[in-house]
Symmetry: C2
Subunit: 327 residues, 2 copies
């Protein structure tokens, strides 16, 4: 297996990506890793990975056109390397929009898919149970047809990667009734019902979506992003509040000792970062976007996600799914 | 002051609304209260409020047309009573969609306003600091012009009712940059910038919106509803998790005793229900929608919200705001 890594463009740069890659190589010695970026900063990887120099770095806020113009950027060189090497996966912690545009343009979408969807396994109220939420930010507007495609890609991902048999599928909306939502959501609901989409259960509100009984949550990119970011915001709020509460004085610190284990469990249940990255589903290769503020561990986790997706042949499985029923 | 109350149609019916009204009357003896509903169930209010019998009840899931057809429903009779009595405010815990449609059709919108917005003061990470979020569910789609109108109504509400001087205003989006969001959000951002809208700061993500520095958060109804419901969902998740953690065994129960006060504070900071209801801003009268699952206290709180809005003459102030600059 060959994995291409864009080493530049994240908040902590090579300080996070180099140790992340080193750990990954140690654990998966069978994988050929190609590291693209400033060769001076990649010295620690010499002899362990193939180092490919790239002059430029795509800025975090780069727009689609800007990325494509930066031909010698680590992101573009990484994509070119993937094509040359016919590699299995690509990972980047750089600009999400940039990575999405560049992979869409240069690596193409899977035939039949109109738009890539960014997705990530999402924690739920049930410990260890994850759900797939898509799209969480690739698009600002989506047609009913695209929502249906997301439902299909999400189902395949849930089944093949998360090992969920007959995953259930819900549309994120502002009410549980079939007629609730934007015109696009209402139409997607209607068509999913008409086609007897496997596992489709109808609409669900943000309040119930996290209860743990949802396997695939389908949303347009704008609302999906609001869902993701709001969850993170409230989780952050509770995290900070609890920390402040327990560190207030000696008595509260003693209180902490009594529930330390339970708190750790809650934290683990609701940890957004443990998955390491988001997948760009619909792209004609495994493409994983690591968090922009990845540390070494998070970046290593993103590499593992890419490895697992390549190993499970997720792209081929999505392709099959879209060929089978000719949509 | 005259307040009209639709006593029927909520989850707990008159078991919640009757004691809620009794408490309100006790505390505000200067207000004339008109209670509309099944007269048998309203007997405890005899001599304290004007009781008006209404045969029917609007079901919780009623659509717009169904509500208008139910002429003898408590909701419609309450609205008719408001018009007859030239009353100052109306409160209902019945169907949100129904209440919105019926008030829009029969009480009309304030001239210049295209769509009513449902809004509620929203808790933030700063104790006691609330922000105004609108629209949280009146519409499924909104034009840039409507978003701008929400910004205006929200600012007036924040200034006149929440006593926030020069409130700042943000657009909820999937990125902080001006070019992020749906085409409607991007266009609204552009126009708010062009018109130098007072206090307009730009876009904000769901993650930062709760930090406590936002006074007015403007959103289309669909995304606003996702924002609200997702927040509630995560808050519920943390609430349940903490409860389970602290009640696990004797040791954790002792832990609880050490932080009881702090936990109460967190709970109070993040209490969605304390405000009692949501306002229908843009309607040509004070219209408050109490929670569908209101208990007596919540319903009483909704009545207080209506009282305060009427006392502060919020509707007149919004009217002035829309006349002043002719939009």
């Amino acid at each position: 297996m060959k994995v291409i890594v864009d080493m530049m463009g994240s908040d902590h740069g090579t300080e996070a990506t180099v140790p992340g890659v080193l750990r990954f190589i140690e654990e998966y010695p069978d994988v050929q890793v190609f590291c693209v970026g400033n060769e001076d900063e990649l010295k620690p990887l010499e002899g362990k990975a193939t180092i490919i120099h790239a002059e430029d770095v795509v800025p975090m806020d780069a727009g689609a056109l800007q990325v494509l113009r930066l031909r010698n950027s680590s992101m573009n060189v990484a994509i070119a390397t993937l094509l040359e090497e016919e590699a299995n996966a690509i990972v980047s912690a750089g600009s999400t929009g940039g990575f999405l545009s560049a992979t869409t343009v240069k690596l193409k979408l899977i035939p039949g898919i109109e738009r890539a969807a960014i997705t990530a396994p999402f924690p739920t109220a049930i410990k260890g149970k994850k759900m797939v939420v898509l799209d969480i930010g690739a698009s600002n507007e989506n047609t009913p047809e695209q929502l249906i495609q997301f439902a299909k890609m999400g189902s395949i991902y849930a089944e093949k990667v998360l090992d969920i048999e007959n995953p259930n599928v819900y549309l994120l909306s502002n009410g549980a009734e079939d007629d609730k939502g934007t015109p696009e959501v209402v139409e997607a609901n209607k068509r999913l019902r008409e086609m007897d989409f496997p596992g489709f259960k109808g609409n669900i509100e943000g309040r119930e979506a996290l209860d743990g009984h949802v396997d695939v949550l389908v949303s347009g990119g704008f609302a999906g992003n609001i869902f993701l970011k709001t969850s993170e915001g409230i989780a952050k709020f509770f995290g900070n509040s609890l920390k402040k509460m327990f560190t207030k004085n000696l008595s509260t610190k003693i209180g902490y000792l009594h529930v330390r284990k339970g708190l750790k469990e809650i934290q683990d249940t609701f940890d957004y970062k443990s998955t390491g990255g988001a997948m760009l589903l619909g792209i004609n290769t495994v493409a994983v976007k690591a968090h922009g503020n990845s540390d070494a561990y998070t970046f290593y986790s993103a590499l593992k996600v890419a490895y697992k997706m390549a190993k499970q042949d997720v792209v081929a499985k999505i392709k099959e799914g879209f060929v089978e029923d000719g949509s």
